[in-house]
């Protein structure tokens, strides 16, 4: 958008906006016209304003998820921000990671939408940074580049049999039920009785909950239709959530645990001896850990109340934590292609609290199962050889969001700190990076005096390669189609499942 147009739309947004928005609240009412006298004044301002806005700093954000949008939100106060996203659709893990039965967590999309529609923000989907355009080219075209592309890989368990049929990463399983295009073909086999989830964080609990939730609950969510049909036919009755350490080291949080404990149609089954010594440690724990542990102990050790006992008695599905167990092998069935069991080594703990270490005791046990989902962590991947990458920690090395080796390069979100944290954590993290960037602009460390071509140049480069970005209004076409399709089924939305479909709707 040229500087003039931007100024004009800025003015419109600011002083015109209210009448426009008022008229939108009344259905069918024709939009109010801008009064002619003021319009004349506006046009004279445009000429004067052009000079002002051509020095507006331009920043590029790579990745259209929470980190990208929170970083943009903080920057658009003073700066033009262009957000580039590989998929045609924005919002990253809010769309593809948050569980379908957690719609309130997705409310943050409204905030991101407002940011995207701000006059100083532009969204460009369907652009693969690293392939369609390099980070070096972005650095040439913008005053600063913020990498916020998150963690699309996963940590591998590193045991024999990990690649057998029936073994999936939680990232892929979650991507499958949430409609991530690359996970569309996953087609997990849910015909077995027992599923083993490796890892005891919130993602592990999400997977367990989705596997065991009553259909009545799931069918009203935005879970994809193929996943819903697969779960309707699922014969999985028992989910074991396995962790190498003990109850005091689980990485999940109380909200997710409470959801498992109260999940209709299910009952919990834990090993009381796993909780030896835990009661004594309670008093020294910080509040979040204490409340979490108390709930776990209550579930594992105490007799339930009458109503709960009734629910447990009539439950057809069961779940439980298995502590002090590390996977050492995934065992195949007779034909050698599919998982038939997981061999778990028994651990004991050395040390206590967060720093406790799991040490092999020498015993093993085999757990028969037909589905293994490893939920031991996501992992960031390097997308451009020009960007420094710490492969041991799988992050872009940085100090408070500044990539030291490259002037003008920053990072935010999981790429900056590693793949842990909820949306609120990412929010703080992104605001921090934005603050570092603003400091650098104010101090002169980042030279913003020279004009940069920004998206004008990048779009020209993309056009040469035949890449057509999806702008935010194109996404809105996809969004409203998904919502309309969902309405027909009593769901908040029915997601489009392939990039081709998304692009077809975007271009229509």
């Amino acid at each position: 958008m040229s500087a003039c147009k931007r100024l004009l739309s800025d003015v419109k947004l600011w002083s015109f906006g209210r009448s426009r928005w008022t008229s939108r609240t009344h259905e069918g009412e024709h939009r109010k016209q801008w009064p002619p006298a003021a319009g004349k004044l506006l046009r004279s301002m445009v000429v004067r304003g052009k000079a002002l806005l051509s020095t507006c700093p331009k920043v590029c954000v790579v990745g259209g998820g929470p980190a990208g949008f929170y970083t943009a939100q903080h920057l658009i106060k003073d700066v033009q921000v262009d957000v580039y996203e590989r998929l045609p659709v924005p919002f990253g893990l809010v769309r593809f990671g948050v569980a379908p039965d957690h719609p309130e967590v997705k409310n943050v999309i409204n905030t991101f939408t407002q940011t995207a529609k701000h006059s100083r923000c532009s969204f460009y989907g369907n652009v693969n940074v690293g392939k369609d355009v390099s980070v070096a080219e972005l650095l040439r075209s913008y005053h600063a580049v913020v990498l916020s592309y998150g963690a699309e890989g996963n940590r591998s368990v590193g045991v024999p049999g990990e690649h057998l049929s029936g073994v999936y990463s939680a990232k892929d399983f979650v991507g499958w039920y949430n409609g991530l295009p690359s996970c569309r073909e996953l087609d997990p086999d849910l015909s077995c009785d027992t599923a083993v989830v490796l890892g005891q964080g919130n993602v592990a609990l999400d997977v367990a909950r989705i596997l065991l939730s009553p259909l009545d609950i799931l069918k009203k969510t935005d879970i994809t239709q193929p996943a819903l049909e697969a779960l309707a036919a699922s014969r999985v009755r028992s989910v074991l959530i396995v962790g190498r350490r003990g109850p005091l080291q689980v990485a999940c949080t109380i909200k997710e645990l409470r959801e498992m404990v109260t999940l209709p149609g299910t009952r919990p089954e834990m090993t009381p001896s796993d909780f030896e010594g835990v009661k004594d440690a309670l008093k020294d724990l910080p509040r979040p850990r204490k409340r979490l542990t108390e709930l776990m102990m209550k579930t594992a050790l105490e007799r339930p109340g009458e109503k709960e006992q009734e629910r447990w008695n009539s439950a057809s599905r069961v779940w439980g934590f298995r502590f002090f167990r590390s996977p050492v092998e995934v065992l195949p069935d007779a034909e050698g292609k599919k998982v038939a069991a997981v061999r778990l080594a028994v651990n004991r703990l050395e040390g206590s609290g967060e720093g406790a270490q799991a040490v092999r005791s020498g015993d093993v046990e085999d757990v028969p199962c037909g589905l293994v989902i490893s939920s031991i962590g996501y992992k960031s991947l390097p997308i451009d050889a020009g960007v420094p990458f710490d492969s041991r920690r799988a992050i872009v090395p940085n100090s408070m969001g500044r990539v030291q080796q490259v002037l003008g390069l920053y990072c935010s979100g999981w790429l900056k700190t590693g793949p842990t944290g909820v949306i609120a954590t990412t929010m703080n993290n992104s605001f921090d990076t934005a603050r570092s960037l603003m400091e650098d602009m104010d101090s002169g460390k980042l030279d913003v005096s020279a004009e940069k071509p920004g998206s004008l140049r990048i779009r020209a480069l993309l056009e040469e390669k035949g890449v057509e970005p999806v702008v935010f209004s194109d996404w809105e076409k996809i969004d409203s189609l998904e919502v309309r399709r969902g309405e027909a089924r009593g769901k908040p939305r029915e997601k489009l499942l392939s990039v081709e479909e998304m692009l077809a709707v975007a271009r229509s």
Binding site: W14, W21, K77, V105, V108, G418, I423, M427
Partner: protein, 195 residues
């Protein structure tokens, strides 16, 4: 400068048009702090700066505006004086009224208190510290609020979620501090958060 005159004129037009607005819930200006109550101050300033950076603290969380919400109460018994203390330590006094929600009140006054989940107890971004004198006057948090508070960084004894605090007369003088986003977030031995 002609430009600022134009701005003032256009603001005047907008203000007149604004009297027709029936409710603020879909208006981004309610969130951008340019809505009815505070646009008067923007008009007085009239400088080009106020035009370029409409709102230094761009508040982009959508808040649902309650119909009776108004930051100017008529009845003195309805007035609740609130002080927000932002992350830089700046004190922002606000005249609120009984029944106001602390999160949406903050939005109305351009205080950068996020409300990512829009008051549905699914996040902890509206985390505030309540002044000691008033903390005990608040009703006990429900279990779901405690669960979400557990996720908030730098939890303190007087931590509450802003979206769950509704003003009553006995909360007059309450001070709400926004937790600092420390640079040493992960350096103080803090355990990496689950996700």
């Amino acid at each position: 400068m002609a430009a600022s005159a134009a701005v003032r004129t256009s603001m005047g037009l907008t203000l007149r048009l604004s009297r027709l607005i029936p409710d603020c819930s879909t208006c981004p200006f309610y969130r951008l702090k340019s809505c009815g109550n505070s646009s008067a101050s923007l008009q007085r300033r009239g400088s080009f700066d106020s035009f370029r950076t409409t709102n230094r603290h761009l508040q982009t969380t959508i808040g649902l505006c309650r119909e009776e919400d108004s930051s100017t109460a008529e009845d003195p018994e309805e007035v609740v004086n609130v002080v927000y203390i932002d992350r830089s330590g700046r004190r922002i006094p606000v005249k609120a009224k009984v029944g106001d929600n602390v999160l949406y009140l903050a939005h109305k006054h351009g205080i950068p208190l996020e409300g990512a989940c829009e008051a549905s107890l699914a996040c902890s971004t509206c985390h505030v510290y309540v002044s000691d004198a008033h903390f005990d006057k608040l009703p006990e948090p429900e279990e779901r609020e405690d669960d979400m508070l557990d996720m908030a960084p730098m939890l303190q004894e007087t931590s509450r979620l802003g979206c769950q605090i509704v003003l009553t007369p006995e909360l007059d003088g309450i001070e709400l501090t926004l937790p600092k986003i420390t640079r040493n977030f992960y350096v103080d031995g803090h355990v990496p958060k689950p996700h």
